[in-house]
Structure formats: C-alpha cells, structure tokens
C-alpha cells in the first residue's frame, strides 16, 4: 500500500478525505489514525469457491519446483534456475507437506532438514505459484484454511 507511505516532498495539506490520505512531510501536525477497538474486526473477506477447495491441509503436497521444472534450484526470491547456479539453493528431495508449509508460513518454522535460506526460497517459490501450476490448489487451501 505504497500510496499510504510518506516518501514524497511536502505538498498542500488540504487533502480533505479518508483517514488514509497522505500527510505532507514535515507537517507539524500528524494525521490521527483510528486504530479501532481491540475486539472489533477490520477485515471483510470475499471468498470464492476456489478458496474453499476441500483439499486436506494435512495431506496435500507441493512439489518444489513443479515437475515441469524438476531438478531446478531456487533463488532466494523463489525463482527456479539451473542446478548449481550461484546463490541458489538445492530443492527439497520430496514434495513439501501441507502441515510443514503451514508451520513455515504461520510460525516461521524451517522445513525439516533445511537451512533458513532453503526454507525462504521454498516459501517464496510457493508464493509465486499461479492457477494451473502444480501445487497451487494445495497452497490456496493452506492459506485459506
């Protein structure tokens, strides 16, 4: 939500509007931000059928990378590259399991037997998955719970 960031030069302060309007840099008076009550909900989620796919989070698996790119290594950002590419990590020997992925996403845990670099590369790979790629539906189910 970069439009909320205050990184530009100062501009006119007469932006009457929503609570998320920009504040001029260096303004003497900062914009008040409504935090809401701790118990109130600030999210409304629209959940399409795809997100309700009944795949079990415990049993579904994601090959990293997908079979079409089998053998490829992964850069930190999740890009698949040829084996032994500088700065890339080895892919997991087996598909990652739903529960492991969940633990990594929610609790910051490492995949069994991997380094933090590997875990980050694997997670970033999965974050880039798109509809039609192997593992996408499993990942959607894990994210949507």
């Amino acid at each position: 939500m970069s439009e909320d960031r205050i990184d530009g030069p100062a501009h006119d302060a007469d932006v009457a509007g929503p609570a998320t309007a920009d504040v001029p840099a260096g303004a003497s008076r900062r914009r008040a931000l409504m935090l809401g009550a701790a118990g109130a909900s600030m999210v409304v989620t629209i959940r399409p059928a795809l997100a309700q796919t009944a795949t079990s989070v415990l049993t579904c698996e994601i090959p990293v990378p997908q079979p079409r790119q089998s053998g490829g290594w992964l850069l930190r950002d999740g890009t698949v590259v040829p084996p032994y590419t500088r700065g890339a990590v080895r892919p997991p020997y087996q598909p990652l399991k739903g529960q492991e992925i969940r633990d990594a996403l929610m609790n910051g845990r490492l995949y069994p037997g991997t380094t933090r670099e590997q875990t980050q590369a694997y997670t970033n790979y999965m974050l880039r998955l798109q509809n039609g790629q192997s593992g996408f539906t499993c990942f959607v189910s894990i994210r949507a719970k």
Binding site: P18, T20, A32, L33, M34, M42, T45, I46, V140
Partner: protein, 95 residues
C-alpha cells in the same frame, strides 16, 4: 510482547475506496476489504522489492506507526489484535 517478526505477503496490489483498501490476494484467490489501520500496518511491513528483508516485530510496528501518525489508546494491544486478524486473513505471515 512476542518478538516474532511479521511480514506482509509479497505481491499485494490494492486500491483505496472511500478510506477502505480493497486487496486482491492472488495466492489465496480471496479479496479483502480492509479498514484502517490495516492498510497502514501492511505498508509498514511490506517486503523489499527483491523479496528479502522487510517485516517487523509488533513492537517495531508500533514504533513506526507512532512516528507517522497520532495514536490514542492502548496501541500495543490494538496492533497485536490487528496483526492476529491479518494473519488469519493470510495477508501477513511469519518472517
């Protein structure tokens, strides 16, 4: 306060409508309508462009928000509650 680090999900464009952020989260196929201060919190913990770094502890998020905005009340408690909500929605994960 826990020292866990939280990071906003990588690819998350959004549009602002009447003070609400409409976020389409491609990895889950879900669309979220976020009221303040959620868009502001997400902006503070967005990952860097190259997918590295980014993220912050709850304490750091409170400090960053205080630096930018005027805040009232028990900020730490509310930010903790808001983070839990963002985690539940899948928009924030452990860094």
């Amino acid at each position: 306060m826990d020292a866990a680090r939280h990071i906003a999900d990588a690819v998350m464009p959004s549009v602002m409508i009447e003070g609400f952020a409409v976020v389409f989260h491609a990895p889950s196929g879900m669309t979220h309508l976020l009221a303040p201060p959620l868009p502001e919190i997400l902006a503070e913990i967005a990952p860097d462009a190259d997918g590295r770094g980014g993220g912050a502890t709850a304490e750091e998020i409170v400090a960053r928000l205080r630096a930018t905005y005027e805040l009232d009340g028990d900020v730490a408690a509310v930010v903790a509650a808001r983070l839990a909500e963002l985690h539940a929605a899948g928009l924030v994960r452990a860094a």
